[in-house]
Structure formats: C-alpha cells, structure tokens
C-alpha cells in the first residue's frame, strides 16, 4: 500500500502541489516519501520517515520543474530507507518511477537486467521499471513507447507513474491498483485517490485495469494496452475538499467516531420506511447462501453479517479474504459478498476474483463510489459513511453492519419494529457519545498488562473488533474471545492486571451465560468492565459499567462497539500514540 501523485501544468507550483497531494495520501502509507521533477533535467528528493522529513529535506532546495511525480510509501519490499524510497531511477538518471502495488516477476526481470549490466540501488521490486524504460530508450523508442514496452513486461499489481528527463509529460498505467486522473482548468493530475488533488478540481476519470494514461500541459489521453485511444466519461466528485478536515477535533478518529449519528442517517436515508415496514435497496439478489470475504475491521462487520443472515435462516459464512483463495469453498447458488471500506483492498479483490472465476455472483459492500470493487462486482451496496481518514476504521464499521442488516431485511421482509430499531440507532449512538464514561475507564486501567474483550452472538465479533481497535492504536496487547471459549484456554491469561471488557446485552440466555463467564473472570481477580444495556444484572459483578441505551439486540452490537471505540481512543490518547497514523499500518492495503 502506497500513494502516488503526479501533475503537469502547475508551473512553479509543481513541487508544492505534489507535496500537498502526498499529505492527503498519508493515510495510504507514511514510512518514506519522495518526489521527482522533470523539465530538462530530472531532480529527485526522497527520504525515509514521515512526509515532514521530506519537507525538511526539500527546505532550501530550489527544486523546479513543470512536470512531477511523488510517492508516499508503506514498505513491502525492503525496509523504509532513503534508498528504498520512491521515486526510483535508471542508471542514466533520466527516468523516474513511482509505483503502488507489487511486481510479482521482478526477480526474473531484475536478474535479466543485472546480467545486462544495470546497477540497482534499492531492494524494491519497483526499481526494475526505470531500468526497463532505460533499455527501450537506448533502443531508440520515444518515451511513451518505452514506458509502454516496460509496463507490458510487468506481472502483478501496479499503479505506476513515470517521468523522463527532457519530456514534459507524465505517463501512467494501472493494473489492480487504484489510479485516478484529475482534470483541472489549466493543469492535469493523477493520484491513487481523489483527495490528493480535490483542492484543484472535482472532475475526475477513474482508470480501469490495463489502461494507460498520458498527461501533458495541454492534453490528457487514456489508451488501451495497444495504444488505441479510449473515450472516457468524466465524473464529478460530490464531496468538498474541506470534508477531509478535522473540524476542531485533535484527531480524525475522534471526529469520525462523533460523525456516526450522521453517517448512519445517510446509510438509512430513503432506504427504510417505518410506517410501511419496508426496506428498499438498489440491490437485486436472492441467494441460497452467503459467503463473506473481508479483512480487518470489515471482516468483523462481515461476522456480524453472518450472524444476521443465520438468524434470518439464510446460511452464511465469513472468510478472511487472504485465506479464501487458498482453499476456496464451493459456491453453487451462494452470493459472495466482499466487504471493504476503500473498495481497493487487494486481498478482498483477489478473493472476489476467485469467486467470480468459479461462477459465483458477487456483491460489493463499500464506502467508495468508483472504487475497484464496485466496478468488478456484479452489484454494489454503498454504506454512505462519507470519507474516513483515520487509519482505524470506526464509522465505516457501524455503517457496514447497518448496510448488512438492511440487506437481510430486504430479503426476508421487515417488521415495523425492525425499522423502528434502525431509525432509533442514530439517536442512540448520540446518547452514547453524550454520556460515555470511556475516558475515565481508559484512565482507570492505563498500564495494565493486557486487555481482553468477551461477548457472545453478535457481541462476539464486536469483542474482536474492540480488541483490534485497541491494539492498533494503543499498541497494547488486546485480544477478543467468544465468551464461552474463555474457559477452554484463554482464561490462563487472565490476572489481576488484565481488565476484561464483557459485552452483555439483553436479559436472555446469552446474557445469562456471559454473566457466568464474567464470574469466572472475577474469580481470578481480573477487573471487569461491563458494557451493558442495563437489562441484566451484570453490573453486580462488574467493577465498572459502560452504559448503552436499551435497544434491539442487533443495534446493541453497534452501540457497544461505539463505547469500545471511545475506550480505545482515550487509551491511545493517554499514551500519546499517533492515533490517526499508527505505526506500521495503512488505511487500505492494496497489496496481498
């Protein structure tokens, strides 16, 4: 996962435009960054570290050039060092390349190039590309033909941008990694994602796999792999550039946690009617069974989906996308649902392609209009959560679960009670935000050895999600368990210094059993934080209580999760962590 940018037509502002673009793509990676400016000469500056390190390196350096590319990196091949940072150059230092993705045949290509006398300066897969271009230039190709020829030899996934000294164009190509063109009045842009240039234009062209693009000061052109021009529709981006601001919060994560009432309203808008007891979605499916493929937080939302489908009598399973292709299950009659916030998650896309190859109907559940998953799947259900910038997913989890609940209700029919519960959800989330004691809890348990989360039924995936959120932003050890599994092993980890967050909602059999597990924990001296709607007597066994409003059991899972989001946020804030950009992580992972 990396971010790439490019622009022409910005004159003296080329460098600042590139750096601005990279700052908007930092969510895609931030362990090294670099830029290349071409205009007669080729200048490259790149640094390991965050974008500020690159800014410092650029300070005082009078880089100029009217054509440029840039890169922010999340390491896959080779550690984050200056040498491994992009852009990469050829031996003559006349070609510079930035790349997002993985070139699978790079070892073969590199061996050939080394044999031919090329010298490599990095450990990356990307560096083969400039050397391939160099060879073609030496053979007499013009720059465009040289880049085309080089790209045609690559296998794997890539969004690539190339500049060549003495040429005032940027060349780009895409295969399985996102790439979008921005069309300004006097300038053209390209980037992995729209925020990179949204300040300058709202007119965009999303490239498809196998397409090649050339931008110059006065022209943009999209062609197929044989150079034939393709007429592409120009889309208009509907959100404003400022939607990616923090609106007075210290972190995007907290802003996005607080946005949940609004994003849930958007998810539900014009899709439900309480008085008619109806759900209407722009999705037409009638599956015998459902297979979910997803990663990370989206996988936890998918596990909630499994529970909701099973309860409605529709067989459902969830698979970690990265495991799905390894031993794919039979798909006859099953709908394969890919849940991915960004719509670009490589593991999920790859699992969906495998399912498609085996004849399955596919449905994307995603947040990003125009994303790869929405173009590759047969149908798409948008969760409408709005841009999410914090690397730790929050509001998109809630909207994913609600979207899946809507999908179930659209298949099985909804009662007025079902719809009322969903319509009450935004207000209930607001109540949690207004009244939460999460900050005090985080403070009370700061410095514990580990943090455990337990739940049953729908609250089991929430306990997994609570633990994932906690570990990814606080860097503390956290684990989620099915409450009933505790006694089959994990109980050995429980001590007086390992708080256990118990998710107990309702007052039925599930709650009663989980309370039994709470007593097991309590007997080992571990402090218990109950997250509860107050319907059971779990508060009697808990050291602390995080209240959620009494509601339907399906929406209770989302409300409990909001409390855990706040606990994680405050725990990480107390530790002074880099909450929006946790170490080693990137927002959406476009490599497998």
């Amino acid at each position: 996962m990396c971010g790439i940018v490019g622009c022409v037509g910005r004159g003296e502002e080329t460098l600042s435009t590139l750096v601005h673009g990279l700052s908007k793509l930092e969510y895609r990676g931030y362990d090294s960054a670099g830029v290349a400016l071409a205009d007669g000469d080729l200048d490259v500056v790149k640094r390991a570290g965050e974008l500020d390190d690159l800014r410092a390196a650029l300070d005082g350096d009078s880089l100029s050039g009217r054509v440029g590319i840039g890169h922010t990196r999340w390491s896959t091949h080779g550690p984050p060092t200056d040498a491994n940072a992009h852009p990469h150059r050829d031996c003559t230092e006349r070609v510079a390349v930035v790349h997002n993705g993985i070139i699978e045949n790079y070892e073969d290509l590199k061996a050939d190039l080394l044999e031919a006398g090329h010298e490599f300066r990095s450990d990356t897969d990307t560096e083969v590309v400039p050397h391939l271009v160099e060879d073609r230039l030496a053979a007499g190709d013009d720059p465009e033909a040289a880049v085309r020829a080089a790209v045609s030899r690559l296998e794997g996934s890539y969004a690539i941008a190339v500049v060549v000294a003495g040429d005032d164009r940027v060349f780009a190509a895409r295969e399985d990694s996102p790439l979008v063109l921005g069309l300004g009045d006097d300038a053209y842009y390209l980037a992995s994602d729209v925020p990179a240039f949204r300040e300058f234009t709202d007119r965009v062209v999303y490239l498809e796999d196998g397409e090649f693009a050339v931008i110059s000061a006065d022209e943009w052109r999209v062609t197929d792999d044989e150079g034939r021009r393709i007429d592409r529709d120009v889309d208009t981006v509907e959100w404003s550039p400022e939607e990616t601001g923090k609106s007075g919060y210290d972190h995007f994560m907290l802003k996005e946690i607080h946005e949940q009432p609004r994003s849930l309203r958007q998810c539900l808008r014009e899709r439900v009617s309480e008085l008619a007891g109806s759900v209407s979605l722009d999705v037409d499916v009638d599956p015998d069974g459902v297979q979910f493929v997803a990663c990370g937080t989206s996988y936890h939302a998918a596990l909630c989906g499994v529970h909701l489908f099973q309860q409605a009598g529709i067989p459902a399973q969830a698979f970690l996308a990265s495991e799905y292709a390894t031993s794919p299950p039979p798909v006859d009659g099953d709908l394969v649902v890919g849940v991915t916030q960004s719509g670009e998650t490589a593991d999920t896309l790859s699992a969906l392609r495998e399912a498609k190859r085996r004849g399955a109907e596919t449905l994307a559940v995603t947040n990003v209009v125009g994303s790869s998953v929405s173009r590759e799947c047969d149908q798409t259900l948008y969760i409408r959560a709005g841009p999410e910038i914090g690397v730790a997913a929050t509001k998109t989890f809630s909207s994913q679960v609600v979207a899946l609940a809507l999908l179930v209700l659209s298949l099985t029919g909804a009662s007025r009670h079902d719809i009322a519960a969903l319509r009450d959800l935004p207000g209930n989330v607001q109540q949690v935000l207004d009244e939460s004691d999460a900050e005090e809890i985080a403070r009370a348990y700061e410095g514990s050895d580990a943090y455990f989360f337990i739940g049953r039924g729908l609250q089991f995936p929430v306990s997994l999600e609570g633990a994932l959120k906690f570990k990814e932003i606080s860097y503390e050890h956290a684990e989620g368990f099915a409450a009933g599994e505790l006694k089959h092993g994990p109980l050995a980890l429980v001590t007086e210094n390992t708080p256990v967050f118990a998710l107990v909602t309702g007052d039925g059999e599930q709650a009663r059993k989980t309370i039994g597990n709470v007593k097991e924990v309590e007997a080992r001296g571990a402090p218990v934080v109950a997250v509860t709607d107050g319907k059971s007597d779990v508060h009697r066994y808990a050291d602390h209580v995080l209240d959620i409003p009494a509601s339907d059991q399906r929406t209770a899972a989302i409300l409990a999760n909001v409390q855990l989001q706040l606990v994680s946020y405050h725990a990480a804030a107390l530790l002074g962590r880099s909450i929006d950009k946790p170490r080693n992580l990137a927002k959406s992972v476009t490599v497998e």
Binding site: T244, G245, L433
Partner: protein, 395 residues
Amino acid sequence: MTIDTAVVLAAGEGNRLRPLTHNRPKPMLPAANRPILEYVLDALVDAGISKLCLVVGYKRDRVQDHFGPTYRDVPIDYVVQKKQLGSGHALQQAAGAVDDSFVVVNGDRVIQSKMVSAVVDAHEDASAVLAVLEHGNAQRYGAVDVENDTITAFVEKPDRRAFRLINAGVYAFDRSIFDALARADRIDGTLPLTTAVESLVAERKVQAVRTNGLWVDATYPWDLLEVAREVLRHGLVEAPERDRDVWVADSARIDPEATLQGPVVVGPDTEVAAGAVVGPNVALGRNATVGANATVEGAVLDTDTRVGAGSVLVDCVTGHDVHLGPATVVPGGPADVQVGDAIHRGERLGAVFGDRVRAEGGVSCAPGTLVGTSARLRTGVVVAGQVKTDTEVVR
C-alpha cells in the same frame, strides 16, 4: 477594505433554555427545524463571508459534529473557549484567527444577510460598526440611542420604553476591539463584549447602521415556538414547498391520508402516518415520527422525536430523541411557568420535553409543564410544573 472573515460566538449554554440545553449549546437549538446557528451562517455566507471562525465551548462537539470542517463550501476554523467567561472573552480567543477587519455575530439568534452586508459596507468609514434595528420589545434586549449614525448610549435591558432601537448583535470591527477588550473591566470574572463596545460608545467611536428584517431570539424554551412561527412566516426553510406554506424534505414520507396544514415544515427522514393532522405552525425535525391519528399544532418537535398514535400535542417543544407513547395529551397553554425562582405568567406553552424523555402511553401534561432530560413518565401519569432530569414518574 472589504471583509471576508466572520467570528461567530457559539460557546455559551443559554441556561435559561434548560432543559433543552442539557446536551447542546443554545446556537444548536432549533429555529423551526434547523439549528439557529445555520441561519446565522447562512446570513454570513450569503453576505459574501468566505472564512468562518466559530468560537465554541459548552458542548462544542455538537457544533463541530453538525457543521464539520466546512459550511456551504466555506471553511470553518474552530476556536475553543475553555471556560465560558462572557462574549468578550470568547472574541479574545479568536484574536489569532482573524485579519485586520472582521464581522462578529452572536451564534444564537436568527439574523438575515442584509444586516451583515450593512455592517460590512459601513465599515469602510468606521473602525467599529454595529447593526441596530427597531424592535417592539426593546426593553427586553440591549437598547441603543443614536445621533447622526453614531451610537451615543448603550443600555442593556433598559427600564424606559423610550428606547426603540436595539443592538442586533452584528458588528464589524478592526483589531482595535482587542485593545478595548484588554482595557475593559471584568464583571464577576466575566467579560461581555458589550462592556468593551460600551467604552468605544463613550468615545463616540461606534457607528450605527440601521437595518430591518427577521431578527428573533429565544430566551426561554417556549420562545422557540414564536421563533418557529416567525421563521415559517418568512418562509425561511430549507425543504421544497409542496403546497402553499407546506414544506416537506425530499426524504420525508407523508402518508397520503395524513393532513399537513400550513405553515408547517417536515425535516429529512421524518414519517407522518395516516390520519395524522400536523399544523399549523409546526416544525418537525430530522427523522421524527408522527403516529396514526395524532394531532400536532403549534409545535417544534426536534430530531428523532416519536409521537405515538392518537396523541394530541399543542404548543409543545421536544428535544432530541423524545419518545411520547400512544395517546399522550398536551392540551396547550396559556400557563404560568416557573423557571428557577421566577414565574412567567400567561405564557403560551403546553409542555417542554428535554432530550430523551420517555413517556409511556396515556401521559397527560398540564399547561406549562417542563420535563427534564431523560425523565421517564410511566403509563397514564398526569404531570404538571417541573419534572427533574432523570426522574421516573409513576402513578
């Protein structure tokens, strides 16, 4: 020079509006079915302001969550006033965020863009400008005396009825206001903006610019009913007009067997069931529900309010997420209403319900009832006077 920046003072609670301000500041209370602050920002943006600085404090997340980083494509800079030490102190917090000249407005009163334009234009010739307007109830607000466009006297809540002009709370300043604020004496530790302006008035440095148009303020909860009436009368609502004086958001669902009697506005995602009669002078917020055969008249029902089947609500204000069960009866004012130690006689008020009140079926409210936040009214109770926050009322 022209002014492109506005400072909006939105940090105060407005404690006389309790219980409605339990979870949000006064600027976020509804004028009809949109927050008062939206009207203020509309007035500023319509007048050409391109940079908004919101001073926030009390329950500031509500302001930030609602508006986000931008309003109508105009970027918002949030400045935090940690302690609410008065409007002058609030403005001081914004000192680093403004240029040489700027507009200052209160975020808690509905204003119109011509008032903003007027002070911006007049600022060409004066370093401090204040919009004034005639008001029939001048003694209730800050009144001013004007001679030849210069303000000569500045009287907060005068006794005499002679003062006909009031301070509209719309100013244009240059940075000298910060000097005046630095010199001004604090009153009980607080620093009202008017104190600093008063010192400039004494030096005859404040120019008055006369304006007119919609200017409405809410001091007490029941004033929100009057504010809604005024806003609806001026047609200042966001939803498309379906019939004369009937505005319904596109995403709202109105049963064909329901009656909407204008003036009435219905917010996004709201549903109105068969047989319901809604209006006149009703504002329904976002995602509200009016059940079958309910009657709602002269009411402001805010976001996520649920009105059960067969209820009758007259002269009624609800906060967020209020659930009123079937056959709730609020017959309406006038009434004597007690707020703190003061009794307000003859106010037209049925009942005020704070956020998250739950009334089970068959609850009746005597005229002038104030129900505190999260109170639970069990089946069939009759309530009057004040019900405290979080209490449960049983038969």
